[in-house]
């Protein structure tokens, strides 16, 4: 049987005219690292579930993308992380919304799928479950980057509509 993997780091308003060559090269290199982390598992006969977690965890740890480290800020200057995972073989699924202290939210979503009777956990409850599962906890400062803080201040100063925000920063 063949294996394959596809990944994304978000869609948006970037164009060759607005994105410097150096930034393009950095983002492409980061995408290749994440893709290859998943490919290596599949090429070794590993499962699709492990492959998608490996690829997403790499992207969560890279501050160029809006997930985990480098996530955008809420209006109140905090980070609330969402993640989901689903296993096509069993249609098992796990998801978290508004988690705040788990370093890799995708691993928390997987724990919800594999170690809880639920599909979706949110907020403080999701954080409590993460601690009980022994997942790596970080201070929210781990997720904060100057660029995302600048984008929040710009949004507040310009009072952008939510739709423009999503296209520009989402």
């Amino acid at each position: 049987m063949a294996w394959s993997i596809a990944i994304h780091g978000g869609a948006g308003s970037m164009t060759p005219a607005t994105m410097p060559e150096a930034a393009q090269a950095e983002h492409l290199a980061a995408l290749e690292v994440a893709r290859d982390a998943g490919s290596a598992i599949l090429a070794a006969g590993g499962g699709a579930l492990d492959a998608v977690v490996a690829a997403v965890a790499v992207l969560e740890d890279d501050d160029k993308f809006n997930a985990g480290r480098g996530a955008v800020f809420t209006y109140h200057g905090t980070t609330e992380l969402d993640a989901a995972i689903m296993d096509g073989a069993t249609r098992g699924a796990g998801a978290v919304a508004a988690a705040t202290h788990t370093r890799n939210p995708v691993r928390l979503a997987r724990a919800v799928m594999e170690a809880s009777p639920h599909v979706l956990l949110s907020g403080p409850g999701a954080d409590e479950f993460s601690r009980e599962q022994g997942l790596k906890q970080v201070d929210p400062d781990w997720f904060a980057t100057p660029e995302r803080w600048r984008q929040l201040q710009e949004l507040k100063a310009r009072k952008l509509g939510w739709y423009d925000v999503d296209l520009k920063y989402g």
């Binding site: 049987m1 294996w3 394959s4 596809a6 990944i7 994304h8 780091g9 869609a11 948006g12 308003s13 970037m14 164009t15 983002h27 492409l28 995408l31 290749e32 290859d36 998943g38 599949l42 006969g45 590993g46 499962g47 492959a51 998608v52 977690v53 690829a55 997403v56 992207l59 969560e60 809006n66 997930a67 996530a71 955008v72 209006y75 980070t79 609330e80 969402d82 993640a83 989901a84 995972i85 689903m86 096509g88 073989a89 249609r91 699924a93 998801a95 978290v96 919304a97 890799n104 979503a109 997987r110 979706l120 995302r148 984008q151 939510w162 739709y163 925000v165 999503d166 296209l167 989402g170």
Partner: protein, 134 residues
């Protein structure tokens, strides 16, 4: 938002999505990423999907599940189903993209924004990464 979809050599598919959401989000706003069937879905009878974009539109169209349903019930390819659902989202005024992996080993990208950070590889030697629409 980031995501991955994969099919392994046993033909099982999986999808994962992770996001910080929307800059400046208020009132506990949650987008499509953690909603199974909207931004993330996987079913060996159809495909695995991860979405990114204006989450409210992906929720309202149940985008990830819809792509799987089109493949399972209409026999559409991953690319045809993904293109159709992104077009539907665009017609509603939404923007964004999806990545799809199917049990037959095929993958697809579909998006209606100027760019989407994306990459893919397979056991046949495909190995690429891209940012812009062209």
């Amino acid at each position: 938002t980031v995501g991955a979809v994969a099919v392994d050599d046993a033909g099982h598919v999986a999808a994962a999505t992770s996001t910080g959401g929307l800059t400046g989000k208020r009132w506990g706003r949650i987008g499509d990423s953690p909603l199974i069937g909207a931004g993330t879905y996987a079913d060996d009878r159809a495909c695995a999907v991860s979405a990114t974009g204006a989450g409210e539109f992906f929720i309202r169209t149940a985008a990830a599940h819809e792509i799987g349903a089109r493949m399972r019930l209409l026999g559409e390819s991953a690319q045809a189903a993904a293109d159709a659902v992104i077009a539907e989202i665009g017609a509603l005024g939404g923007s964004g993209g999806v990545i799809v992996a199917a049990p037959d080993g095929s993958t697809a990208f579909a998006f209606n924004t100027p760019g989407m950070y994306r990459a893919r590889a397979d056991s046949g030697g495909l190995c690429e990464a891209a940012i812009f629409a062209e």
